[in-house]
């Protein structure tokens, strides 16, 4: 293994990982770290979305609902009953997974645009419900006011840290875990089955694929992942409100990252976030304060340009480029392979 690190196809990813791992030591600027956290967080969410929308081809435009469920569950458990968000996180994940399953059951009957529209609808229903509900029994949702999370200083056991670097590492860990999960799914029976479903449901059924069970399982896993992200969001901002964590725009944002990057691939969402997060930050930084709206105008134009000129996600273009770089570096492993897409 170590010997293989001589090959660029091994040491480049390793180098990338190393840089990510040591980043807080390299960059002593909390703002840049913040941007990196947002990059990891967005990549995490888009990867979670990708499990159902990319792998299984069911375009969801309501995934903020699951982020919200996660954020609300762990936050309520923490604020009202003092349960550590680390534990609440798992609860949130499980509740979101159950939700994903329950919602999926009827909704998966729909195909194409109807499915997408239904996801918008359930996202909105959950947002409107939480926004207008003060409490359900003993559970205080606090409606539109949102829930404030008391900051107890540095207490890792309570998912609260003084330094940005700590949050960074949590985000990095979650990011790596979701990548690992994606990779595992993609390369397992389930991944093949989901892919088959995304291509042709009837044919998949004929090969013994229980399509509805598969989709529900993927939906539940996806929801679980999103919910964990919700807890991170809550603990990072220490404030959640329905207009923020449950908004339709948030859902769209997640989907846009996934689609721009390349649906159904393990690294597509990462690439999407790698491009869109800084793009959104840069346009806002340089254009945001000057003329109202210019930054989003520029962002929108760039988005349109990418869709028009780079079809089906930047991952295809990127992997060709990456492949070429590897060849330039004289990588013996890669040159043997033919399909560039295979390296990702």
């Amino acid at each position: 293994m170590l010997r293989r690190l001589r090959y660029p196809s091994y040491f480049l990813p390793f180098l990338f990982l190393l840089i990510l791992g040591l980043l807080p030591f390299i960059i002593n600027n909390e703002y840049i770290l913040q941007v990196f956290i947002m990059f990891l967080f967005n990549a995490y969410l888009a990867s979670g979305w990708n499990i159902i929308s990319g792998f299984a081809g069911q375009l969801s435009l309501g995934h903020a609902a699951f982020v919200g469920i996660g954020a609300y569950t762990s936050t309520i458990l923490f604020v009202q009953w003092g349960i550590s968000p680390w534990i609440g996180m798992i609860f949130g994940g499980v509740i979101a997974a159950i939700f994903g399953w329950l919602i999926g059951y009827p909704v998966f009957k729909l195909r194409g645009p109807y499915y997408a529209l239904a996801t918008i609808a359930y996202g909105e229903i959950i947002r409107i419900f939480i926004q207008n509900t003060k409490a359900v029994g003993p559970i205080e949702l606090k409606g539109a006011e949102g829930i404030l999370i008391p900051f107890k200083g540095s207490s890792p056991a309570l998912f609260q840290f003084e330094t940005k670097a700590a949050y960074y590492y949590v985000a990095l860990a979650m990011f790596l875990l979701v990548l690992l999960l994606s990779y595992k799914i993609k390369n397992s029976k389930m991944g093949y089955y989901l892919s088959a479903i995304g291509n042709d449901q009837d044919a998949a059924e004929s090969l013994g694929v229980n399509t509805s069970k598969m989709k529900l399982t993927a939906s539940a896993i996806s929801a679980f992942v999103m919910a964990l992200g919700g807890t991170f969001y809550a603990q990072f901002l220490l404030y959640i409100n329905p207009q923020g964590v449950l908004s339709g725009d948030f859902s769209t944002e997640i989907a846009v990252i996934g689609i721009i990057g390349g649906e159904g691939t393990v690294f597509g969402p990462v690439l999407g976030s790698l491009i869109l997060t800084p793009l959104s930050e840069l346009t806002r930084i340089y254009l945001g304060g000057r003329f109202a709206g210019v930054h989003l105008l520029a962002y929108g134009l760039i988005l349109m340009a990418v869709v028009t000129h780079i079809p089906h996600g930047v991952i295809g273009t990127f992997s060709k480029l990456y492949h070429r770089i590897l060849l330039k570096l004289g990588d013996p492993v890669v040159s043997a392979k033919t399909g560039a897409g295979k390296t990702l």
Binding site: N187, S188, K189, Y192, Y193, S195, A196, G198, N199, D200, D202, A203, A204, E205, S206, L207, G208, V209, N210, T211, G264, T338, G339
Partner: protein, 245 residues
Amino acid sequence: MIILEAKKLTKSFGGLMAVADVSVTVNSGELVGLIGPNGAGKTTLFNMLSGYYKPTTGEVYFRGQDITKLKVFETSDLGIARTFQIVKPFGKMTVLDNVMVGAFAKTGHKKEARDKALEVLDFVGLFNAKDNLAESMTLGGKKRIELARALATEPELLLLDEVVAGLNPSEVKGVIEIIRKICKDKRVTIVMVEHVMQAIMALSDRIIVMNSGRKIAEGTPEEVANNPEVIQAYLGRGMTKSARG
């Protein structure tokens, strides 16, 4: 031994009787052809046998077990596989990945599935195309992918829906060879719907002829080919002339 038995199947679509009171038995190891002019109800019958349609009345038994109400993937688990008249490859997946989906029916391990898939690909002659995207294959290639995919599930009964339709003569020959091998070497029972006479005549042990939703004849290829009712109903003007010529 009877492997598949359909009893008095009837299917109507909003008043229109597509299949009326058709019974079929298939013995283990046999290759049965199902023919008839378009609109005769072949595909409907076929879809009931493979579980895609639920019959209006009647039952289907596989190895003595009633499978009438089972879902498609459940019949697949029991050992029934099928191909589609209009090919349905997983276009955005490679040929190998397509077949691996089938192979996963019998294993959860990627490596085992891969080995199985490669073996099947070799069997149908697609080994060299394994890394191509399925959508980039020719029709003949796609038909073979479907065959390979179905085979990879290791079925006992294989239902083939117009598997050589649209292929050129040399391709037809190749596929006929493969089907023969599947039936004789792998001992898989096959029911095939087919338009291409050359294929059906060359392959079938027994042929069932349908017309207007009913079974009108059954027998060996020779018997069927000489049945005047069949010639009249199925072959029509043009074909009868050419049969004479």
